[in-house]
């Protein structure tokens, strides 16, 4: 009997940690991850659980007598669909619609499925966003096709380098560097008119908006460790983009 109880608790722990890991890898806020894990634990009668989430690892202690578990988070990207899916699974588990086994199976499926939009659609979206920002920031219509193309190219470069090397700062540096060079060529050959708005519009898809918002909200919620580390990540990204552009402009 205790054996069964033991495996059931182990399964529940696996389930919480998997949910936390998927959410953290997909770019959820730290306080939401902690909240979700604690809610799931309380619904499984683990009232005294503690959970400590940082952007690089999750510690979860179910109670005083059970062992504390730890998972490492290696790569973080932005995939809000998965955040929403895990959220709905945890809601169902808390409401009693799912058993732990069902929730765990569902989470495994979420973990293994790729929900991303087609890569070409993402590139198109980056191009459209660049074009829109060019006009919103007061650029001229003549520059629109350039911003459209350069924004897409910058996004492709960052995504390919990220896939090859997993070094984010390098990918962003090269991406903004190439965008800067292309924009300078377009302006100095006389096809485009305004270098500043053209560059700003084209690098908009690379801006770390999610990281900045998450960092601030984590800091305000009292999660200083993750708030500061996400802030550092946002700063590094912004620095990489800025340095890439600065190298081009200094010539």
């Amino acid at each position: 009997m205790t054996q069964i109880g033991e495996t059931r608790r182990e399964l529940a722990l696996d389930c919480f940690l998997l949910a936390g890991r998927i959410m953290m890898e997909s770019g959820a806020e730290t306080y939401r991850v902690e909240d979700t894990m604690i809610r799931m634990a309380v619904s499984q009668n683990m009232v005294n659980s503690h959970c400590f989430v940082t952007p690089t690892g999750i510690m979860f202690s179910p109670s005083e007598e059970l062992a504390t578990r730890f998972v490492r988070i290696n790569n973080r990207s932005t995939d809000l669909e998965r955040v929403a899916l895990v959220n709905s699974v945890s809601r169902k588990l808390v409401a009693g619609e799912y058993t732990v086994q069902q929730a765990y199976d569902e989470l495994l499926i979420i973990d293994q499925t790729n929900y991303r939009f087609n890569i070409w659609l993402q590139i198109l979206a980056a191009s459209v966003a660049s074009g829109c920002f060019l006009i919103l920031l007061g650029g001229s219509w003549i520059d629109l096709p350039f911003a459209f193309v350069f924004g897409g190219i910058g996004f492709i470069i960052v995504e390919t380098i990220l896939e090859e090397t997993r070094v984010k700062i390098f990918a962003e540096f090269i991406g903004s560097f190439v965008v800067g060079i292309l924009a300078s060529i377009a302006v100095y050959t006389g096809f485009a008119t305004d270098l500043d708005t053209l560059i700003i519009g084209s690098i908009m898809p690379l801006v770390p908006g999610l990281l900045i918002t998450n960092a601030v909200r984590d800091l305000m919620a009292g999660h200083f460790v993750s708030g500061l580390s996400k802030g550092a990540e946002a700063f590094l990204t912004a620095f990489a983009i800025g340095a890439g552009i600065a190298v081009v402009l200094s010539f």
Partner: protein
């Protein structure tokens, strides 16, 4: 300024960011609407008061409130709606100008632009947090009132 054009462009930009961040398919249009409302409020404030810090605060405040309402409606985390809406308010051009002035050795001007960028990002963050706290207070009170009503009806 051309209101319908700006509304359309900000809608499109926020929706495109929704695709990049892979928001759930059925919330894409809502994401666009959040971005549009944030940008229009930002522009209106900017035209009236001519201060981009205050305008950013107002824009972020509205983004956060709309995102909160949509999150309640769709029963999804609020982050899904707020992120695409925040992007247009990020002080990209100020940060760019600061960087450009550093490269051209105009350090004083660079500091001016950089501090403005810092102020704007702070204002955006404050707008987000203020709206969230207000909404939490409001919904807590509403939930209490509903509970009290239910308690009364049960008795």
């Amino acid at each position: 300024m051309n209101w319908p054009l700006e509304a359309f462009l900000s809608f499109l930009a926020a929706g495109a960011f929704g695709v990049i961040f892979n928001t759930p398919r059925r919330t894409l249009i809502s994401c666009g609407l959040v971005g549009m409302s944030g940008w229009l409020i930002y522009r209106t404030f900017f035209l009236v008061f001519e201060d981009s810090v205050q305008a950013s605060f107002a824009g972020a405040f509205v983004v956060s409130i709309v995102a909160h309402l949509l999150a309640k409606k769709f029963r999804m985390p609020m982050i899904i709606f707020s992120i695409a809406g925040i992007i247009p308010l990020v002080p990209g051009s100020k940060a760019y100008n600061a960087m450009r002035n550093i490269v051209e050795h105009n350090y004083l001007e660079a500091i001016a632009f950089a501090s403005e960028a810092l102020m704007i990002s702070g204002a955006v963050a404050m707008g987000l947090v203020f709206a969230e706290v207000l909404m939490q207070l409001f919904f807590k009170r509403q939930a209490k009132r509903i509970q009290r009503k239910m308690g009364l009806t049960q008795e």
